[in-house]
């Protein structure tokens, strides 16, 4: 039997979207540090503006360096394309405003990154978009929360910081039964651990700041379209007029007619990036591309190191609980085994057997783990969510998100695992003696 001719994940991580620079032969993707691109003539200029031709006009709309990154993440995710944004938050915002207007509603997992929770719970209601938060494990709750004006279901592949595993296939099936798309934040997993489109999600957002760039150097986001959701389907088309009706802001273009597969991306770029303007800088795209080149190698090591640390912590008497889906006692252990066969990532939380003061002492005693508000760095990181990333959440919301006063979140880096364990061991000892 003939086999399809396709490239593997590792090859795509290095090459997708890029060719040697036609002008210079440069092998690395050049940083096209320019605002604008010279037109050949007036006809070409007009054609580019009107989407009659493909190409770059102005770097807010598109840029060659960013375009390489957009193709690369789309290739790795198995999507049709992507848009690089100023941050992960900008990618989430772009997805939402492309799909809906005031009067619309989102159903979201309540186990979200604090910044996403802020956007949905506090900021978007000011613009007429409301969100109902549900227990991500409770499929009935997802279903009950869907209203006639719901336009999107949203969750994280791995909840932050409790690592609730989103049952992407079942939530996607529920969304599709209601003519709705499922948007998934895949920041913690990256396409190396899970490709949500393989499990029927429709859209993916990444904070590329994290594992994709991998070195804690840049802020950036990516919004990826599977191209699979049928915006023109009978049970969907009335819900998404931004895609199925003429858009006066672009010569009455009907995006779902322009492309059956890339309608969402067209609108997101031609309206959302154009008008809200949260584009990615080409220098940032370059750094993220450098990171993605080694994504498979890094993710394997991140996961391996995280497992070593989980093994250490679960035996430690000063550790009350570890929330990691690879542990048999985790409520999502079976689901993680199915959806995340390569591992459940390198960010997880645990609770100390102690007071808030002891938690503070623990964090301040660490030497290799850096105390800061980020994850997915090559260097190991630590934070106290209740007082930092999730501090705006109410006590009840914190409880629902699985966060206590004693919860510590680790992002396990690429150091020698023995050195990390030694660091943790000393800090746990110091905290326990406080």
């Amino acid at each position: 039997m003939t086999k399809p001719k396709t490239h593997g994940f590792d090859t795509l991580s290095l090459h997708a979207g890029a060719r040697p620079d036609p002008a210079t032969g440069a092998r690395a993707t050049p940083i096209y540090q320019t605002t604008s691109f010279v037109f050949d003539d007036s006809d070409q200029a007009a054609a580019l503006f009107n989407m009659e031709r493909a190409g770059h006009v102005y770097s807010r709309l598109s840029n060659p360096t960013c375009a390489v990154l957009e193709e690369r993440i789309a290739a790795l995710e198995g999507g049709v394309g992507a848009i690089a944004t100023a941050s992960g938050q900008a990618a989430l915002h772009l997805a939402i405003v492309t799909l809906m207007s005031a009067g619309s509603h989102v159903v979201a997992s309540r186990s979200l990154y604090g910044g996403s929770h802020n956007l949905l719970d506090y900021t978007l209601p000011r613009f007429g978009i409301e969100t109902t938060f549900v227990d991500p494990r409770d499929l009935d709750a997802w279903q009950r929360a869907i209203r006639p004006n719901t336009r999107l279901l949203f969750g994280e592949t791995l909840g932050n910081p409790g690592l609730e595993v989103l049952d992407v296939p079942r939530v996607a099936a529920l969304a599709h039964a209601h003519g709705l798309p499922l948007l998934v934040d895949s920041t913690f997993t990256t396409p190396w651990l899970m490709r949500p489109f393989d499990h029927d999600a429709d859209l993916v957002v990444h904070s590329a700041t994290k594992f994709l760039s991998g070195h804690g150097t840049v802020i950036g986001g990516l919004l990826v379209d599977s191209g699979r959701f049928d915006w023109n389907a009978r049970n969907a088309r009335e819900k998404f007029p931004t895609l199925t009706e003429p858009y006066a802001g672009f010569h009455d273009m009907v995006f779902a007619e322009e492309s059956s597969t890339a309608a969402f991306l067209l609108r997101a770029r031609r309206e959302g990036v154009r008008d809200f303007g949260a584009c990615m800088a080409p220098m940032t795209a370059f750094h993220i591309l450098q990171g993605i080149e080694t994504l498979p190698l890094r993710m394997a090591r991140h996961v391996e190191n995280a497992r070593a640390i989980v093994r250490f912590l679960r035996e430690h008497p000063f550790v009350a609980r570890i929330g990691h889906p690879e542990l048999p006692g985790h409520p999502d252990h079976d689901l993680a085994t199915r959806l995340l066969p390569r591992g459940a990532g390198a960010v997880f939380s645990f609770d100390l057997n102690g007071t808030r003061e002891q938690g503070k002492r623990f964090i301040e005693s660490l030497k290799l783990f850096s105390h800061l508000a980020n994850v997915g760095d090559a260097k190991s990181l630590v934070i106290h969510p209740a007082s930092t990333t999730h501090f705006r959440m109410s006590d009840e919301d914190l409880r629902h998100a699985g966060i206590t006063e004693g919860t510590i979140r680790l992002s396990v880096g690429l150091e020698d695992p023995a050195d990390l364990i030694d660091d943790l061991s000393r800090a746990l000892y110091a905290a326990s003696k406080t």
Binding site: E71, G81, G227
Partner: protein, 266 residues
């Protein structure tokens, strides 16, 4: 726009412009298990430059009703019905792959209706491999993967799309996945069985343009040459490092070739 052909609703993309009977018309015909969208970066230009761009969804494809037509000859006759429905004379026909065979046959059968003919990724015959046909008949996803693997030239397999941010391989396979069960098999069967290509080319009376990918393995170059030799008035544009998916791989160059052709044979 949506209009009726032989009692069935047909969709055609017109570049967000109204169809104006008084204007010259470019009719775009897609290939197997595709839709109008494969011509997005060619058709829209003409719609905004004084012409009607009519990029069809063939019956049973995209938003058009009915079942996929079972032979190239049937598609050619259906195209004549489209011309009747739109009351178009002197049309410019553009077809890709299976669509190229259909417009070729249509131009041969109805020479008085066709002003110019553009054949993209064309060959006669256009044989289809047994493995691909078998996979398509099983509605096996493998069929889409095989076509995708063969349709893009090696450089394009890694992307670097002129359309910023779009992964052309992913976009191509996702479009095919939208085809209803059986459509790809019907289309490929039609290509495989079509035996009249060279004779049809010899019967074409209007100027023709052949745009070929230098690395097209779906439409074998020797069969494209046979077609070109039979056409009495043919211009040929061969795109280097390009495969069968040439509108995606080289959107600007394909558009420029079409524009030059129109200008050259005013």
């Amino acid at each position: 726009m949506q209009f009726d052909v032989a009692g069935r609703s047909v969709y055609a993309y017109t570049g967000s412009r109204p169809f104006v009977p008084a204007r010259p018309t470019m009719l775009f015909v897609h290939g197997a298990a595709n839709d109008h969208g494969v011509f997005a970066l060619q058709s829209r230009y003409f719609a905004w430059h004084g012409m009607n761009a009519v990029a069809l969804d063939l019956p049973g494809h995209g938003r058009s009703e009915g079942d996929a037509l079972r032979s190239v000859e049937a598609i050619a006759e259906w195209l004549r019905d489209v011309l009747d429905a739109l009351a178009v004379e002197g049309v410019n026909l553009v077809g890709h792959s299976m669509g190229s065979l259909a417009v070729l046959e249509c131009a041969a059968r109805h020479p008085q209706r066709v002003a110019r003919l553009a054949l993209l990724g064309a060959s006669a015959p256009m044989p289809v491999s047994d493995d691909l046909l078998a996979a398509a008949r099983r509605n096996d996803h493998l069929a889409y993967e095989l076509i995708n693997g063969w349709s893009f030239a090696p450089p394009s397999q890694l992307g670097a799309n002129q359309w910023p941010g779009v992964w052309m391989l992913g976009n191509a396979i996702r479009l095919m996945e939208r085809a209803r069960d059986g459509v790809l098999a019907t289309d490929l069967d039609a290509c495989n069985r079509y035996a009249n290509g060279v004779a049809a080319a010899a019967a074409v009376q209007c100027p023709a343009l052949v745009i070929a990918g230098a690395r097209d393995i779906m439409a074998p170059p020797r069969n494209t040459k046979a077609l070109i030799a039979a056409l009495r008035d043919a211009r040929v544009v061969t795109l280097p490092d390009t495969g069968h998916a040439l509108m995606a791989e080289r959107p600007g160059e394909v558009l420029d070739a079409l524009r030059s052709f129109l200008t050259a044979v005013e």
